[in-house]
């Protein structure tokens, strides 16, 4: 991700705070789309952005009907940007819902992962599981004997291959591949296709980014 280049350039032009938020949301979106597991919900970031979105929508609403062509054109630009930001947020949330649906029991029963959900996501997950459970019961499961010996929990494939880029200089920069004796060095700028589990810690620390 060349967000850093982008920021560098924007810094040079003294562009204020909003930029960082959009860049962060963009990176969170890309990471959420690429990672096999659900990542921590960006609570503060989303709150700030939703507030800005609300302000812009309000602005468009109050200015609508203004016949001054200059204002009108500004509104077009604001709306165009608004659609871009809304798309990012929507796609980010939907990528999360996909994983919440897929790995629901795993998320619910793993405290460190459950904490990555926002309160509405957690309540969606619980209600969804409840609905599924009643549906299966009603359809065939009623009166079934209990069964042992197999886990019905769907877990993310943490060994799934991902593409990633080293974005920082890392002190302890050896990535080891679990279950093998393969290891390799992470140098800033490197791009790898590798098992997620080998770079997971670096990703959660922000030293390596999913692309």
């Amino acid at each position: 991700m060349d967000i850093d280049d982008l920021l560098q350039e924007l810094d040079d032009n003294q562009v204020p705070s909003g930029t960082r938020d959009i860049a962060d949301l963009t990176q969170s979106w890309i990471a959420e789309r690429s990672a096999p597991e659900i990542l921590p919900f960006q609570t503060a970031l989303l709150e700030r952005l939703m507030e800005r979105i609300r302000q812009q929508i309000e602005l468009v609403e109050t200015q609508t009907g203004n016949l001054d062509p200059k204002t009108n054109f500004c509104l077009i630009l604001i709306q165009t940007e608004l659609e871009r930001v809304k798309f990012l947020v929507r796609s980010y949330l939907r990528a999360r819902i996909h994983k919440i649906d897929k790995h629901s029991i795993y998320i619910l029963t793993t405290p460190s992962i459950r904490g990555r959900l926002s309160p509405p996501e957690l309540s969606y997950l619980k209600s969804h599981l409840g609905l599924l459970n009643s549906h299966f019961l009603a359809s065939f499961l009623r009166g079934f004997p209990e069964h042992w010996g197999i886990s019905m929990v769907e877990e993310p494939d943490l060994d799934g291959a991902v593409f990633c880029k080293v974005v920082k200089d890392i002190e302890d920069n050896i990535a080891r591949i679990p279950g093998t004796d393969a290891e390799f060095k992470l140098t800033k700028g490197d791009v790898y296709v590798v098992r997620y589990s080998a770079v997971r810690e670096f990703i959660l620390r922000g030293e390596v980014e999913l692309i």
């Binding site: 197999i150 886990s151 019905m152 769907e154």
Partner: protein
């Protein structure tokens, strides 16, 4: 292990030849006779989900074996040799729809050290061939129909995903250049 994964469940349905080492009451239905016993020495093909659990003691080397497992025909030495000689000419699909997954499971049950390398090499070589076909815009029609028909399920997915990404990029590039005029 994915409980709800349809391909995992279909993999589990693939069969392995088993020989019963003891007589078991009331299991005759495994060879198609209900209400009879299954006799010691009987050979039947059982799906993985059953064979695996009955055969696991063989691998553990403990207790008395209930059944002894054999290599499924799809992984027999004859096929292994064909894969070593010319991996791209073997019709894997007719051997087993989930060929590699079957191989992985058999590797967990039987000592077949060479099989890992054969399967890995086969998969690599065939993947390269799949990539070539997938990037060909005419794809299936022009060439390699036979080869593509013989792909196992995993390879089919690989072909599908490569074909679709190639198509998506082409669409993006030509779409953009065309709207230019």
């Amino acid at each position: 292990m994915s409980y709800y994964d349809i391909d995992a469940i279909l993999t589990d349905a693939q069969k392995v030849p088993c020989t019963f080492e003891i007589t078991i009451p009331g299991l005759g239905y495994l060879e198609g006779n209900s209400n009879t016993d299954i006799k010691q020495g009987t050979r039947v093909e059982l799906p993985l989900w059953l064979a695996e659990m009955l055969g696991v003691s063989q691998r553990l080397g403990t207790e008395q074996n209930v059944v002894t497992l054999d290599l499924p025909p799809a992984l027999a030495p004859r096929v292994q040799n064909a894969l070593k000689a010319n991996p791209c000419t073997v019709d894997l699909r007719s051997l087993a729809s989930h060929y590699y997954s079957l191989g992985e499971r058999i590797l967990g049950l039987l000592e077949e050290d060479e099989l890992v390398d054969i399967l890995s090499e086969t998969f690599k070589k065939r993947a390269a061939e799949i990539a070539d076909h997938a990037h060909n815009p005419q794809g299936v029609i022009s060439s390699g129909g036979e080869f593509l028909k013989g792909l196992d399920e995993n390879e089919r997915q690989l072909f599908k995903i490569s074909h679709e990404s190639a198509k998506a990029i082409r669409a993006f590039l030509s779409d953009r250049s065309n709207t230019k005029k």
